[in-house]
């Protein structure tokens, strides 16, 4: 059975059970069922929840027929194979960036899989995410382009990308994607971010025989919150990441709030934590959740959060920056956006 959510999209009980599995009290057993099986598996594939769904089945939180299991196992294995292919790509990409002296951090998928989930196979992913230090943005894009990575979207005219942009997606010849992040979001909560802050410290994971620098736990939580609140697809897995970092990793969430406040983005973190508890139906008391629910979200912030939640067009999201930019910078920003619009077909 599907359940309506705050944003109006249907969520299937089996996916909710998978996304919350291992967090808090267990719920009554859910059956995958023949009627919804295809939709649930498609949802799990799209949201990279197959690993968590498989673990929920193995632990008995979700029941399934042998036929259903065969399909789920095949899907999980496909995602695991993609995960190791992407990690190999991450290592090759790291070698290119290091050779060029670029300061970068691995974030999201493989970082969370190895550092925050008890079993890396639980957290699958469909691309590689790298955050580049703002001072090295142009160098990073240039190095990877020269190494054969293809930029899907055209370079925007002027300096919109480097000054205000979120980043770009690069594709390899084999069709794998690297999301290169300049910041965590565009718009109201992105332009005030001082990304240098999250480069002040680092964690690491060993991949392919080398150390990969990773955002520290508060930084990973911050990125997870930005993705959950402002990402293009705000599926259950995004909220599981937030809850996982708080409840299992015990990330220093106060440090996350502190950085977010300095970026005028406290509402992003508060909203992500609140919605994680709601959508995952968590009944766990935690000071991070108490802090999130007691945080006052201004009308302006709420309006922008809702706009991102309904996936408003790029231009609307970008224009939400205007009230946060210094007045002297507004004409330049509008000029960049206007030039971008004219390039579109």
């Amino acid at each position: 059975m599907a359940k309506d959510t705050l944003t109006g999209t249907a969520e299937y009980r089996a996916l909710v059970a998978a996304a919350r599995h291992g967090l808090g009290e267990g719920t009554s057993q859910v059956t995958l069922g023949p009627t919804l099986r295809d939709a649930v598996l498609a949802g799990a594939r799209f949201d990279r929840l197959s690993g968590l769904l498989a673990l929920a089945v193995l632990d008995g939180a979700v029941t399934a027929t042998d036929d259903d299991l065969k399909l789920l196992w095949e899907q999980w294995h496909d995602e695991l194979l993609l995960s190791v292919r992407l990690e190999a790509l991450a290592v090759r990409t790291a070698d290119v960036l290091d050779a060029g002296g670029v300061n970068w951090r691995l974030t999201k998928g493989p970082a969370l899989a190895h550092l925050d989930y008890p079993h890396p196979a639980a957290r699958t992913f469909g691309d590689i995410d790298l955050l580049v230090h703002p001072a090295d943005w142009s160098a990073a894009v240039g190095l990877l382009s020269a190494s054969g990575y293809r930029r899907e979207a055209p370079t925007l005219p002027g300096d919109y990308d480097s000054r205000y942009g979120k980043g770009t997606t690069l594709t390899t010849a084999e069709g794998l994607e690297v999301d290169l992040h300049r910041r965590f979001a565009i718009g109201r909560f992105g332009v005030t971010a001082r990304m240098e802050t999250v480069f002040a410290s680092a964690a690491s994971v060993q991949l392919g025989g080398r150390s990969m620098p990773v955002l520290d736990a508060p930084g990973r939580l911050l990125h997870a919150c930005f993705h959950a609140s402002l990402g293009g697809f705000r599926g259950l897995r995004a909220f599981r990441d937030v809850a996982q970092l708080i409840l299992v990793t015990s990330a220093d969430w106060e440090a996350t709030f502190s950085v977010a406040r300095s970026w005028k983005a406290e509402a992003v973190v508060a909203s992500a934590i609140r919605e994680s508890w709601d959508r995952l139906e968590l009944d766990v008391e935690h000071p991070a959740h108490a802090r999130a629910t007691s945080t006052t979200i201004s009308r302006g912030d709420r309006r922008v959060l809702q706009m991102f939640a309904r996936e408003a067009p790029f231009r609307s999201q970008a224009l939400s920056s205007l009230r946060r930019l210094p007045p002297s910078e507004v004409p330049r920003y509008l000029w960049s956006l206007g030039r971008r619009k004219r390039r579109q077909p």
Partner: protein, 86 residues
């Protein structure tokens, strides 16, 4: 003879499943006991120890497990996924 994982290999295991990749992007999927075998290769282990461990795990006798284990090790070694010592 001793065996261990090549530390440069990327990998995932699930029940009855192993996926490995080289940094260069070559991949291999192994079903059955491949994942279990891989977990024993975290440190150098002799072939005899490995066969004994897998025989215990699957409730089988060592002579019946041995050919499959040796064959899989040879395949993994041939493609650079495991290191051989001796």
């Amino acid at each position: 003879m001793r065996w261990r994982r090549n530390p440069r290999v990327l990998w995932r295991t699930a029940p009855g499943y192993l996926a490995v990749a080289t940094v260069g992007g070559h991949t291999l999927e192994v079903g059955g006991p491949g994942g279990e075998l891989w977990l024993h290769l975290a440190e150098w282990i002799t072939e005899e120890e490995l066969i004994a461990a897998l025989a215990r795990r699957y409730g089988a006798d060592e002579p019946s497990v041995s050919p499959d284990v040796r064959s899989l090790l040879e395949e993994l070694s041939g493609q650079g996924y495991v290191d051989r010592d001796g």
